[in-house]
């Protein structure tokens, strides 16, 4: 099911099973990358600052 815009592009109204599965996998890949980014920044902070990370004004 789809409709055509004024510019001629096709906009699907609903996803078929294959499209939905691909979207799910892409979403999982994005989630994985975001998780990896969190891990990278956390590990990098610990590695660069070490114990000094606790030495801050309260």
């Amino acid at each position: 099911m789809s409709r055509e815009t004024d510019g001629g592009d096709v906009v699907p109204k609903s996803l078929d099973a294959v499209q939905a599965e691909r979207r799910r996998k892409r979403s999982m890949a994005i989630a994985f990358v975001l998780g990896a980014l969190v891990l990278i920044f956390y590990v990098l902070t610990i590695a660069k600052l070490g114990p000094q990370i606790l030495n801050r004004p309260i």
């Binding site: 055509e4 510019g7 001629g8 592009d9 096709v10 699907p12 499209q19 691909r22 979207r23 996998k25 892409r26 999982m28 890949a29 990278i40 590990v43 990098l44 590695a47 660069k48």
Partner: protein, 326 residues
């Protein structure tokens, strides 16, 4: 019915422009991964790692690992931008027609956004993880490959892969900059080795793919200067590669293992190039060119592996050049 869009790159005369589906969101995760040219990424990780190891500085493993990852992602991003720009000519050549964009699995706009986000992200994280010299060098490499090489040189001059080869040769310099904060003679020599290795490597393939490049309108050396001139230049670059490949020994950061590898490998490159020069017809021509192409990959891999083994695994045994130089 699916609306189609056409890329606006200047298309080679005599070939029909390929059209692409304008519906986004159809690609598999593996299609996006393919945009990063994973095999090139492996080579980049390997050469950047050697650039780090020859620096002989204390390396924080976490910083080095994240730096390597970001150098690889930056290289992948430039490959992605290259595929976005070259989708029209990729569609014409059998070797590249099944890439995600010309095959219609990924929309050009998706690839452009993907490449730009990864470029910016990899440069920023490398700057934060290592230093801003390494990040600036990575940014320069991405711009050089995506803009200078892909958008300009590739379709403009038969020296395209000679000059553009600088982008592929930069990872050891970025690797050294990431761990040491400076660019030393070691990584500059590694840059020169890859830079001079690139023309004979690519032109061997271009000799047997000349018809495809002609169809796509890319002015590769065999199409412009002719096969005979290309073969002479392959021999010339292979001769030049021999002393440059042995420079690490003369400079003291390549030892006995590296010296033997460089000597045998360098002679092999010259032998294969002469073989290409002598076999100019039919199946023998194809076999000679493919042999040169395959051996050139082996040569570079063994050369850098020898450095990695010597500097990273402690197999370094110094070579005295006193008797040779006296």
């Amino acid at each position: 019915m699916v609306a189609m869009t056409s890329l606006s790159n200047s298309f080679p005369a005599g070939a029909e422009p390929k059209t692409f589906p304008s519906v986004a969101g159809q690609g598999e995760v593996s299609d996006f991964f393919a945009l990063l040219k994973p095999r090139v990424m492996v080579l980049v990780i390997f050469t950047a790692l050697v650039g780090m190891v020859v620096s002989q500085v204390h390396v924080q493993p976490v910083v080095a690992t994240i730096s390597l990852l970001m150098i690889a992602v930056g290289a992948g991003a430039s490959g992605c931008l290259n595929m976005w720009w070259d989708a029209d000519i990729d569609a014409v050549m059998s070797r590249t027609a099944k890439r995600p964009i010309p095959d219609g699995r990924i929309q050009p706009g998706e690839a452009l956004a993907f490449g730009l986000v990864l470029s910016a992200g990899s440069v920023m994280i490398l700057g934060l993880a290592a230093n801003w010299l390494a990040a600036a060098l990575l940014a320069f490499t991405i711009v050089f490959y995506a803009v200078i090489y892909s958008m300009w040189l590739k379709r403009a001059t038969p020296q395209n892969i000679v000059i553009g080869g600088a982008a592929g040769a930069l990872p050891p310099i970025i690797g050294q900059a990431a761990v040491s904060g400076t660019v030393g003679i070691e990584s500059i020599v590694l840059f020169l080795i890859i830079f001079i290795w690139t023309p004979p490597h690519f032109w061997a393939l271009a000799l047997i793919k000349a018809g495809e490049y002609a169809k796509a309108g890319i002015p590769m050396m065999p199409n412009v200067a002719g096969p005979a001139s290309t073969r002479r230049q392959i021999v010339g670059y292979s001769l030049l590669l021999f002393p440059v490949g042995l420079a690490p020994v003369a400079l003291g950061f390549g030892g006995l293992l590296y010296g033997i590898t460089g000597l045998v490998g360098g002679l092999g490159m010259i032998a294969f190039s002469v073989h290409v020069m002598r076999n100019r017809e039919g199946e023998a021509e194809k076999r000679a060119a493919l042999g040169m192409f395959g051996f050139s990959i082996l040569y570079l891999f063994l050369l850098f592996s020898a450095l990695l083994a010597e500097q990273g695994l402690g197999l370094y045994r110094g070579v005295s050049l006193g008797g040779v130089l006296a």
